[in-house]
Structures are given as structure tokens and as C-alpha cells.
């Protein structure tokens, strides 16, 4: 598909197909939104604004709600109910229920069989589709780009704009191709790819840009793996990351509740096959990584860009020529209580968290479970496994994964954001160290004073059974 013969990128095709009004010198582009995902934390003030102005939700039939951020993940009580201990969270969840009900938005409430993390349920239900524009008041909306959608996080004012008009004002971002060539080795996963990318470009490296992940190693990833990669685009500063749809995409989508069916399915596939970037399409910027050279990654600092191959040593601020970067590293190491030159392998940890919109899907749980099976979580470690949705939980239980985790001494919990955001009772205690499959290691992110090492589900599982940060490749080889 070309525009006057000029080859176009995947991003340009989706952008152009959704432009209600072109960008001008005076105004940003007006972009039509196909799907709006809403949750309890970033929507209440937007609904209040609608009420104040007497506005309706323009397209409730293109909007869907779920409860995920402030929901507890504690096991159900005897009545099958997940108790909410926090009064403020309870009020926020009640407010969300009322808002969705008043404005006609379908919503999955806490404990519903389809409830879960917003970025897990969209794809799971077939709502997330190639070529769509998708937004949510959550920066990890970039996840949905794994399907070749243009998906990005927005603030609460913008949530209000989309609720009221189904459109957004947007300045057109630049494009950046990230080629990941070659093949991943044993014990190396999608999470390691994205942590390596962010370590290379830095957490502001993608500001103002949309990533397109390309190359053999991306093509060989499962949809879940692609979602892991796209999910953390925002940690590289890019609001959106995309992967061209292909047979892997279509196989994942086929038969899902909201996916097209029958002859619509064939027509949809024909359309989706026109989406990938044309040969010769030009990106504003391009980088290439070799998957062959990757090993498991881990972060040592207080942002996701502070990551390194797990066998390396913590960098020394004295070696950093940039004074601002040096002071950031000083501050990070002080917070993490780590020393320059220290090896992280063998570092004692307190908690392992497997979950979040980055790594809570069925393949993530299968990977962790296959590693844990027949082993025990170290006595000194609390391991929490939090499925991304009720459907993931159900699937995992049907495969017996919950039994594997429980037998090893891990906690098997209800679906939600849990310890990734620590606003729901699941949190680190001050000073504790966690190996976490989530997406942010910011100061206090997993609980005030808590210290986070970001890593893959395999590295997290290896560390859980070792009681210290461990390289999964070593244990896989034994």
C-alpha cells in the first residue's frame, strides 16, 4: 500500500487512516480512536468533567472498563468474594462501577470471570486488533502495539476528551525502527530484549517517537512475547511501540470473542496484510541489536534504563563522564544500597513477584512454572504469582500451574496489577529487595523504600528458588 507511490511505515498507515483532521501550523492532528480502555484510577475526574458539562459518552460501544490497579489480589473468601480492605480503594471502585453503569460502558468488575489487567484483557478478548487506534489512561497501553495497533497512554483530561468525542488532539510523532536480528539463546526471553533496548537508548531515548520492532528475533516471538516488548516502549520514552501483524498475530486472534468471524475474518486478514511497513519505507531513526549476543538482563538502578547483562557488575559513577548521569547513578546506588563494581549474581533477595501487564500472561506463567516444578522457593523468599486476568488464572489452573507454584511454596493470587504499582495492599517493606517481572524500578514503585530488580519470569523463578539473584541459564543447563 503506497501513498502516491511513496513507501509508508506501519505507523503512517494507521495514523493516516485515523486522521479526522490533518495537523496544521495552528492545531495538532485530530485522531479518531477505535477503542478506549478505562479503569478505576485515571477515569473518575474525567467522568466528573462529563457530568459537570452535561456530556454523554459518545461511543460507549467502543469503550470498555475493567478494575485492575487498586484491586486487592488476596484469595476469595468462603462466599467467593475478594474482600476489599482499603476504604479509599473501595470508594474508587464503587465510583467506577457507577460511572460505567451511568454512561452505558460495559465493565468487568473485581472477581468477574473476565476481569483483569486492562492490557491483558484487551488482547485476550479479541478487542485489540491490527490497524486500530487504542488509548487508555495508562502509559503501558503501548502493549497493544504488539498487534500492529497504534496504542498509547493518555492523561485523565484526554480520557475525558475521548469519552466525550472519540477523538484526541495529537502532534504526529517521529518513527524509530528497532531491528532485533538473529535468534535468542536458551533462557533468554522477550523481557531481556526490551531491557537491553532500553539500557542502550536510555529512558528518554524514544521521547517524541513511535517504535517499530522488526527483525527475525521479533518475528519469532509469541504474541505474549511481543506484548512484553511493546509494553515497555514507554520505559524507553516512546508512547507507542508496534509490531507488524503476521500469521502469529492472526493465529492468536482467531476465535476470540470480539475478533471478526466467518467471511469478516477473511476480509479482515486481507486488510491486515496490507499494514506492514512497505519495503523501502523510511524511518526517522533506526537501530539494530543482535539477539544472538543477548543474555538475561537485570536492572541495578532506579529506572528501567539502568540495566545490564546479569553477569556484569554494577557500573561505577566515577566512570560516568556526564555529571548529571553521574549524580543520577550515585543517587540510584545509594537508594539500592549497592556498590560500584558489585556483582548482582548471588545478591540475597526477599521477594519475587511474577505478574504485571508486562509478564502475567499464560506463556509467562508456563515459563516460570516449568522452572519451578520440582524445586522449592527458598525459605528466605516470598514469591507471589499474580495472573494478569481471571481468564489467565483459569487457564493456568486447568494446566495445573497453580499447583506447581503452591507446591513450591509460592502464593497463587487473584488477577490484578498487584505489586507492580503497590496501591492495592501488595507491596514491599522498606529496604526489601525484589526480583520483579514488572516494568518499573523507580524509587518506591513497589512500596515505599522497596528496591526492585527488573528481570524476566525465568530469571525471577531462578532467583526465587536460589534465594539470591540467579542466572536461569546455569540452572537450565543442570
Amino acid at each position: 500500500m503506497t501513498d502516491n507511490g511513496r513507501p509508508r511505515t506501519l505507523f503512517e498507515k494507521v495514523w493516516n487512516a485515523h486522521t479526522v483532521r490533518e495537523q496544521s501550523d495552528d492545531t495538532p492532528a485530530v485522531l479518531y480512536i477505535d477503542l478506549h480502555l478505562v479503569h478505576e484510577v485515571t477515569s473518575p475526574q474525567a467522568f466528573s468533567m462529563l457530568r459537570e458539562r452535561g456530556l454523554m459518552v459518545r461511543r460507549p460501544d467502543q469503550t470498555i472498563g475493567t478494575m485492575d490497579h487498586s484491586t486487592p489480589t488476596t484469595p476469595r473468601n468462603e462466599q467467593g468474594i475478594i474482600p476489599i480492605a482499603d476504604a479509599m480503594a473501595a470508594l474508587q471502585l464503587d465510583t467506577f462501577s457507577r460511572n460505567c453503569s451511568d454512561f452505558g460502558i460495559p465493565m468487568y468488575a473485581l472477581g468477574d470471570e473476565h476481569q483483569g489487567i486492562v492490557h491483558v484483557i484487551g488482547p485476550e478478548k479479541g478487542l485489540t486488533q491490527p490497524g486500530m487506534t487504542i488509548v487508555c489512561g495508562d502509559s503501558h497501553t503501548s502493549t497493544h502495539g504488539a498487534f500492529g495497533a497504534l496504542a498509547f497512554g493518555i492523561g485523565t483530561s484526554e480520557v475525558g476528551h475521548v469519552l466525550a468525542t472519540q477523538t484526541l488532539l495529537q502532534n504526529k510523532p517521529r518513527t524509530m525502527a528497532i531491528n532485533v536480528e538473529g535468534r535468542l539463546g536458551e533462557g533468554v526471553t522477550a523481557k531481556d530484549i526490551i531491557l537491553a533496548i532500553i539500557a542502550r537508548i536510555g529512558i528518554g531515548g524514544g521521547t517524541g517517537r513511535v517504535f517499530e520492532y522488526r527483525g527475525a528475533a521479533i518475528r519469532n516471538l509469541s504474541m505474549e512475547g511481543r506484548m512484553t516488548v511493546c509494553n515497555m516502549s514507554i520505559e524507553g520514552g516512546a508512547r507507542a511501540g508496534m509490531v507488524a501483524p503476521d500469521d502469529t498475530t492472526f493465529e492468536y486472534m482467531y476465535g476470540r470473542q470480539h475478533a471478526p468471524s466467518g467471511t469478516d475474518w477473511d476480509a479482515a486478514i486481507a486488510n491486515w496484510r496490507t499494514l506492514p511497513s512497505d519495503a523501502g519505507a523510511v524511518f526517522d531513526q533506526e537501530i539494530t541489536l543482535s539477539a544472538d549476543a543477548l543474555i538475561p538482563m537485570i536492572t541495578y538502578g532506579t529506572n528501567p534504563g539502568m540495566g545490564m547483562p546479569i553477569t556484569e557488575a554494577v557500573p561505577a559513577p566515577a566512570d560516568e563522564p556526564d555529571i548529571n548521569k553521574k549524580s543520577a547513578l550515585d543517587k540510584a546506588l545509594a537508594y539500592m544500597d549497592l556498590s560500584p563494581g558489585q556483582q548482582l549474581l548471588g545478591k540475597a533477595i526477599d521477594v519475587v513477584f511474577i505478574g504485571s501487564c508486562t509478564n502475567s500472561r499464560i506463556t509467562d506463567l508456563r515459563q516460570a512454572a516449568s522452572f519451578i516444578e520440582g524445586r522449592k522457593v527458598a525459605d528466605s523468599v516470598r514469591m507471589m504469582v499474580v495472573p494478569g486476568s481471571q481468564q489467565v488464572k483459569k487457564q493456568a489452573e486447568s494446566e495445573g500451574l497453580d499447583e506447581i507454584f503452591r507446591a513450591a511454596g509460592a502464593e497463587w493470587r487473584e488477577a490484578g496489577c498487584s505489586m507492580c504499582i503497590a496501591m492495592n495492599g501488595d507491596q514491599l517493606q522498606p529496604g526489601q529487595y525484589a526480583v520483579s517481572t514488572s516494568n518499573r524500578n523507580f524509587e518506591g514503585r513497589q512500596g515505599k523504600g522497596g528496591r526492585t530488580f527488573l528481570a524476566s519470569p525465568l530469571t525471577a523463578a531462578a532467583s526465587a528458588v536460589s534465594g539470591v539473584i540467579a542466572d536461569p541459564r546455569v540452572m537450565l543447563a543442570n
Binding site: 468533567m49 456530556l55 495508562d138 485523565t156 484526554e158 468525542t165 520505559e235 520514552g237 508512547r239
Partner: protein, 203 residues
Amino acid sequence: MEKLRHIEGSIVGMPVNDIDTDQIIPARFLKVTDKAGLGKAAFCDWRYLEDGETPNPDFILNRPAYAGASVLVAGNNFGCGSSREHAPWALLGAGFQAVISTDFADIFRNNALKNGLLPIVVDRDTQQQLFSLADEDPGTTVSVDVEAQALTLPDGRRVNFPLDGFSKYCLLHGVDQLGYLLALEGDVQAYEASKPQRVTTTV
């Protein structure tokens, strides 16, 4: 939104790169359903000691010399991370009208502009000069002319900063962007008529 034409205020420096929105306001304060009172939570985990109440005397915003500062000068890449609009709400609640940095994360910049908190992008030398001024001479004031997109330093030097025309119009006139979008209803209907609906959530 109030009109924002001029800012005249004293500066306070936080020479830390990559200040993320979790630092600006930790997630545990996001259980609110309105925007009120978030100023207290701004930089909460840096601002208070472990009990969460006693001011940390070492934290810059707690030093009496910087009381009343309304222009925050920050390290590079301010506002990265979470999309929470609570971050600009908290900064406004804490008395800030503008943040100066070399660059801002995209979502934070959008959120700030929609609330009348002005993100001012300056070159690195200006940023460093402002850090020095704030450090050496607490109470140093700067002035900002939104219309002219100009920041005036105490030595009289004027530094221009980028601001897209649409955001500027909204700031100067105290209008939000929603009115503009609502007025495009005809265009949106025409768009919808020209394309099949991509997905329906209600069935």
C-alpha cells in the same frame, strides 16, 4: 482553566535527571476520585521522613529559603514514567506554575499543558545557570511571558522556549481543548460514515 499570560516567581532547583511521576506523586495517593489536596503528596517520599509526616530537613522544598517558589528547575527528562495526571495536579497544588528542564516526557508535557502548568524547555547551559542561581541565591526570581514564549533571567537575558500554537492559545485564553473537539462533531460523523466500526464492546 485560568488564563496564564505571565509568571513571575522564585526558582528552586532539583538537579536530578529523569524525575519520574512516581516521585512526583507516589501511586498510593492515586486512590482519590477528585483532584483536591494532592499538593500535600507532591514529592512525598523525598519530602517527608519515614513516618510520612515529618518534613525531611535536607529536602530542598523544605528549606525556608525556598518557601513560596513557583518555578521548578529540574534535571533532564522530567516527568517520565506513568501517565498519571495527578503529577501536574500535585505540582500545581504545591504552588508551582512552571517547570524548567531540557526536555520533558511526552505524556507529562501534554498533561501539564492541559492544566495550566507550563513546561519550559531550555538549553543545557541555561538549565545549569538556573541551578547555580537557585543554589547560590535562594529567592532568585525569573519571569515568563507566555505570549512571547520568553523566559527572562535575573541578568536580563531572554531565553525563548518552544510552545505549540494550540496549547499557547488555550493557556492565554484559559480555555481547554475539549471545546475545540466538541465543535468538530460534524467532521467526526463524516469520518465514522466513511469507515466501518472496528470493534464493538457492547455485544
